[in-house]
């Protein structure tokens, strides 16, 4: 395989470490790849969302395990994998975001993370099972990003009542 691991970072499952992960991923992407700044911002946000989910998954599983972030490089792409030791999930069977009726719940508005990841990176793969989840996010050299906003727009329209 032409993809080579360039770096592995393992952080405690605590939200205050996500900023360090963002910094590492964006500085590595900046230093090592000919990626436009706005693509690096996309990757930074996607990785951040994946880390938020990974930390939550470890905490829910009562796992003291770290979140492990690895960066992989090939001539034509840059990949980041965010792995946890949580209980796994089915990314194709997420709740369908029903219109929210209880106003209190809005302060904890959720469910935008995975749609955002899908929109921001060129490719995303979920490897999820009982031992944990690995989210693989790929950026190719090009400046385009996908137009998969439909799911998000739907959520927001539901939000608008």
């Amino acid at each position: 395989m032409a993809v080579e691991r360039s770096l592995e970072l393992s952080v405690p499952s605590r939200v205050e470490y996500i900023a360090v992960v963002r910094l590492v991923v964006s500085s590595l992407a900046t230093a090592r790849r000919a990626l436009a700044d706005d693509r690096i911002d996309d990757l930074k946000l996607a990785v951040s969302e994946a880390c938020t989910n990974a930390i939550e998954a470890n905490m829910e599983a009562g796992e003291d395990a770290p979140v492990v972030v690895s960066c992989w490089e090939a001539p034509e792409r840059f990949e980041v994998c965010v792995a946890d030791s949580g209980q796994g999930f089915d990314p194709d069977d997420l709740p369908q975001h029903p219109p929210v009726t209880d106003p209190e719940r809005l302060n904890f508005e959720r469910g935008l993370g995975i749609p955002l990841i899908r929109s921001l990176v060129d490719d995303v793969r979920f490897e999820s099972g009982a031992e944990g989840t690995a989210v693989w996010m790929t950026l190719f050299g090009g400046p385009d990003y996908g137009d998969e906003t439909s799911e998000i727009v739907r959520v927001v329209i539901a939000e608008q009542e």
Binding site: V15, E16, I18, A19, R22, D38, D41, K44, L45, S48, E49, T52, I55, P103, L106, N107, F108, E109, R110, L112, G113, P115, L116, S119, L120, T149, I152, V153, V155, V156, I157, E159, Q160
Partner: protein, 112 residues
């Protein structure tokens, strides 16, 4: 790395909340608390100045949506000030540009 939150209530009836730094799952609770506090103190027209925000994640979006709902339920409103492309983009791809009033400056947002 701490979130900067500064309140300016010299532009009545508007209250300007300037947010500085990275808004993510770690820091967003402080933003939520501040919004809740302002609403409970009676502020109704809040302008959140996001020009100093370097990063905004889905938790941050959720907090802003929550603030908007809370204000609207009190006959108030939440306007955002944001011109940075990388922050605007997050609102755009989530469709939230159609939910929030987004201004180009605090002056514009507070021009009655």
């Amino acid at each position: 790395m701490e979130l900067g939150l500064q309140v300016d209530d010299s532009r009545s009836p508007y209250t300007v909340l300037s947010v500085k730094g990275e808004v993510d799952v770690y820091s967003a609770p402080r933003l939520r608390e501040k919004l809740v506090e302002l609403v409970s103190e009676g502020h109704r027209q809040i302008v959140a100045d996001l020009e100093g925000v370097d990063f905004l994640d889905s938790t941050g979006l959720g907090v802003l949506v929550g603030g908007l709902k809370r204000l609207r339920s009190h006959e108030g409103d939440l306007t955002l000030v944001c011109t940075q492309p990388r922050i605007l983009k997050v609102f755009e791809i989530t469709g939230l540009t159609t939910v929030f009033k987004i201004s180009g400056s605090v002056d514009e947002a507070t021009a009655s």
